[in-house]
Symmetry: C2
Subunit: 422 residues, 2 copies
């Protein structure tokens, strides 16, 4: 029996811990709500800290609120093997997104201690602060701070109540100014590997146990403003109209069509339409459409942007409606390390798990950690591909398989002197 | 010179009165806002009452708030010739919609007195309360009360603040219970003729002075509920989506297409879309679309309803989205009296004004008055077809031409013993 086999997780314990963490939630909403800065999140973090300490990790909470647990390696310092994820949820979310990566990381540490296997490198398990999208408009707060890309203007962003993010962090007992200066150095990370639920249907549909993530999708967002002409809905002939809502509706279908024309890993989604005056009997003179495109393929993203702008501009102008399109790149596509991909796939093969290469359509803390060292991600199947909803589910055995692949991957990477340029 | 020529209005006086009434408006909004129950509306009604009295009319305000001015005819009682319109406006509306009909009615009364022409029938000029759409969801309050179709459940409707219409009427110094019982009898009206701005472009585009209204459009409203499935916008493949917003957008285009396929007098308009959750990164699971179709042609309305339901149901189900469609007939099409049409057209011919038969896409108090006797409407051109906006404009000479045709029409109808069955 090799170390790889020895490190099989205790499936029952891992499941119990995940269920226990789910107990911390805001019960005024259906499903599981543990939003960043909420009381249930505050309470759950104390529990996570205790779990890490109980697993033998030295725990610190950094200035940005990341819970960082360290298991010293034989070398006593130098680049660390890092794993982790997040324990905050979206409102009315589920019990697995993020949570699985943190609890599996702690389980790996427990198994290392229980089996007496010692790594060369320090193993660092991180519960990153506030990964999910929030009212401040900035996801992945904690991993951005560790990657050194949290900026002063981020702290000045406000939520719907006018609260500054900086003040929210301070109110949560953190040090926002120090958070801006606490970025890790590139040499601090030997490799970063994150276990996560897929949040999509590809693994389940193909009956595959393990997803080897090839890249984390880039996200381009667009806000389209349509300016038509108000008019009486009873008296204005169809041919004389400049109806901004009709133009916005046509744009929604164009966005969908461009998404459907994408290669496997491209999607395009309209978020919502706002229009005015919005009264019955009046033709809409102003409409705004929020939409986004995502792909791991930067070339496709560029082409899709151009296609969307060209097509909706032409079809909007043909209706006599003026149009203004603003694009914002929310995140560039981030490829994972080829070597980490190979190590994950070999671990799955060794453990007898089926695997396939998959993209990540969702953003992850891993995208930020990739600035510090070679990065890889392991996906496990989501039932029905559902996520960010109470129905979110991954079977206990599937999580255990993923945790075992994570442990094996970390051990293999630990034994490589240099991952970066491999 | 016949009486018809004698009754030419004083153009300058008529324009001055219209401008004076425009002075009563809520200046916190752009344009002209004199909404029902507002302070400017309350103040303007005192002024309208004085104008009627000054023109020699006996003025009463009925329980529903209609300002009713009567000029006794030679017969002293019996069926009356009725004219009028409304002086409330939509928010950020114009200076002519409704107002022209009330002020022209008063001008006709002044000219009758100035020229010593006495009618056989009483002439009644009415400023109907609250014709425009409002937050209580019931237009034409005053003319409904006179037609005897204001119902107790109308009084229980509430605005956005929870205020009951009945309480709003009482707070405006009116008597809502009495308003329910004050419907006129059918024999009270010899004929009803209303002068109004067209609010559409047909007269201006064809260079025509007078519109002889053939019918007031019926309005069918629809509320469509789309139920899809929420999902992660990054991880859900395009082919697996059940996006309610895309279905709603497709329905907007279907509504437009059905409207464009209508005969001259059919229009179809989407008012707005509400969708949830409305967050970036999440596929829309619920959407609601409010839309309406209008036509003077009942057969087309029926066909259009069926076509819209069939097409959007098919296209929505094809996307795996559930659909529920509710229709509400807001108003049936109301044809005008053929005889009144003829009299209006002859008056225009006699006065040397070009005329054409036109539909009314908008609703009017006249639609309700048609329950009480033969009804006709005279339209004058709207610059650019604009209405319900500050840019609403009809030239002073065009209004004067309309007022003259109104006077001539009333005199001709006065001399007919019986209009109803002609």
């Amino acid at each position: 029996m090799t170390d790889l086999d020895l490190l099989a997780p205790n499936t029952e314990r891992l499941s119990a811990r995940i269920a226990e963490l789910a107990g911390f939630h805001d019960s005024t909403f259906p499903g599981w709500s543990r939003e960043v800065f909420s009381e249930p999140y505050r309470a759950s973090r104390q529990w996570v800290r205790e779990q890490m300490a109980d697993a033998g990790l030295d725990v610190v909470i950094d200035a940005a609120g990341n819970i960082v647990g360290r298991l010293p390696g034989r070398r006593g310092g130098g680049p660390a093997l890092v794993t982790g994820s997040h324990t905050d949820t979206v409102r009315q979310g589920g019990r697995f997104d993020g949570i699985v990566g943190v609890m599996a990381g702690i389980e790996v540490a427990r198994r290392l201690r229980e089996t007496g296997v010692q790594l060369e490198h320090d193993l660092v398990v991180v519960d990153f602060l506030g990964e999910e999208a929030n009212d401040f408009g900035i996801s992945c707060m904690g991993s951005r701070a560790i990657a050194g890309v949290l900026r002063p203007d981020h702290l000045d962003r406000t939520d719907g109540t006018g609260l500054r993010l900086g003040d929210a962090l301070a109110g949560f007992g953190l040090d926002p100014d120090a958070a801006l200066r606490q970025g890790w150095k590139s040499g601090d990370v030997h490799a970063y590997v994150e276990l996560h639920v897929e949040q999509g249907p590809l693994l389940e549909q193909s009956g595959t146990a393990i997803g080897v993530v090839t890249a984390i999708a880039g996200i381009d967002r667009l806000l389209v403003h349509f300016a038509g002409l108000a008019g009486h809905a009873g008296t204005t002939p169809m041919a004389d109209r400049r109806d901004a809502l009709v133009s916005a509706a046509a744009a929604v279908l164009t966005v969908e069509r461009v998404g459907c024309g994408a290669p496997v890993h491209g999607v395009a989604t309209s978020g919502h339409i706002e229009s005015s005056p919005g009264s019955m009997g009046v033709i809409t003179d102003e409409a705004r459409l929020w939409a986004e495109i995502r792909s791991v393929d930067r070339t496709w993203l560029h082409g899709a942007r151009k296609q969307i702008v060209d097509e909706i501009t032409a079809e909007t102008r043909a209706r006599g409606v003026d149009i203004d399109v603003d694009w914002l790149t929310d995140q560039d596509p981030v490829p994972t390390s080829g070597l980490v991909q190979d190590v994950i796939a070999q671990a799955a093969d060794h453990l007898g798990d089926s695997w396939k290469a998959v993209p990540s359509g969702a953003g992850h803390d891993a995208a930020h950690l990739s600035r510090l060292g070679p990065m890889g991600m392991i996906f496990v199947p989501s039932v029905g591909g559902r996520s960010h909803c109470p129905e979110e589910l991954t079977a206990a055995e599937d999580i255990a398989r993923g945790a075992h692949v994570l442990a094996s991957t970390l051990i293999t990477l630990d034994r490589r002197e240099e991952v970066r340029h491999a």
